[in-house]
């Protein structure tokens, strides 16, 4: 539990901050606290929930809302592929509870949780303690998000402390994990190309499609540029990294 909290601490800061921004947005738009709570519990997607507030205001139809959510969240398909074997192994640990645990892990796979879980040491298949750690990190992240959105809803207007800027913790987390991935993969080309593609996508694509476009084109570029077949062998040769340093 303490390990999981330390491991997910940057997400704690970030989710409280951007969750609060979402809650405040809902309060200012005149929606009830329970809609805010339900959205954070069942949707659990940062960009998706921000966009949804706009959909409500615009009176968007069911089909359009679903289509736009697909565009915003389609990159999560690739996260699922990466975690496929690990999560399936959790489901195979035996009993209904681990099956349920597997589907909770699938449900709660946000950008930030994916970033944390995919940086954990990979023993394949994960044993029960590894599975418990993944589950605790996922549930903590979810609880930070729910807490943040409720804080924002009820207290957002009264908090004298300015939350703006705390969400940079998530940016810093991604930068750190990015550096760790460079050490892990030991290649440069794909990172340079992905970075350029992402910068172009942010400049020229509409906000909602930028991440998906950048991610899809970067993956396609990676296919042509690099051969990832031998990355597994190289992993961990230097030790260290986000995983081993925090999770001990």
């Amino acid at each position: 539990m303490i390990r999981a909290f330390r491991y997910s601490f940057p997400v704690f800061l970030g989710y409280i901050a951007i969750g609060a921004a979402f809650g405040l947005m809902m309060a200012e738009a005149g929606y009830s606290w329970y809609l805010t709570l339900i959205m954070s519990v069942v949707m659990y997607a940062g960009a998706g929930q921000y966009a949804a507030v706009g959909f409500f205001a615009a009176g968007l139809g069911l089909f359009e809302a679903m289509l736009l959510q697909f565009v915003i969240n389609a990159r999560h398909i690739a996260y699922g592929i990466t975690m496929l074997r690990r999560f399936n192994a959790v489901g195979e640990l035996g009993g209904f509870r681990w099956k349920l645990a597997k589907w909770y892990l699938v449900f709660s796979l946000t950008d930030e949780t994916f970033a944390l879980l995919s940086s954990l040491p990979q023993e394949q298949p994960p044993d029960k303690s590894a599975a418990r750690l993944m589950l605790t990190v996922s549930a903590l992240d979810h609880s930070y998000w729910i807490t943040g959105s409720l804080i924002g809803f009820f207290a957002g207007a009264f908090i004298p402390f300015d939350f703006a800027g705390v969400d940079f913790a998530l940016c810093a987390l991604f930068i750190v994990l990015f550096v760790e991935q460079i050490y892990r993969v030991r290649r440069v080309g794909i990172f340079v190309v992905s970075a350029i593609i992402t910068a172009l996508a942010v400049c020229f694509l509409p906000e909602r499609g930028a991440l998906l476009g950048a991610f899809a084109v970067s993956l396609a570029a990676a296919r042509f540029l690099e051969n990832f077949d031998n990355t597994r062998k190289e992993r961990g040769d230097k030790g260290g990294g986000y995983d081993q340093r925090i999770v001990k």
């Binding site: 809302a65 999560h76 699938v106 940079f168 991935q181 990676a222």
Partner: protein, 123 residues
Amino acid sequence: MISESLNDSSALILIAAMAVVIFGCRAFVFLFPHKEAGKPNRFLSFIEKAAPPVAMCVLAVNYIAARIKTSILPAMSLETLMVSLLPVIAASVCTALLHIWKRNPLMSIFAGLVVYMALDRAL
């Protein structure tokens, strides 16, 4: 409290539909049976290995670039532009360099956060 444009029950229907789509994206590959034992699917195993590095790169650069984009306003002098971009750029560089130097994740993240918030308030 009911908004002008939408009542709670239609909001709930919309939320449920969107939640299904979001869960569907995350669960996409889990919902289809696939051969685990036989030949591993080359496409899936490529994504499995390539997604973490590509995603971290895209997420980090997206975050920084989106911040830069929103702080660029029309009719801005070069000086005010540089001042408004300084916090995010300085904090990002600081996070990355400190991490390359010390490899201590929480330290790098806190240092970046402190630099960002200090510059953001000072400027």
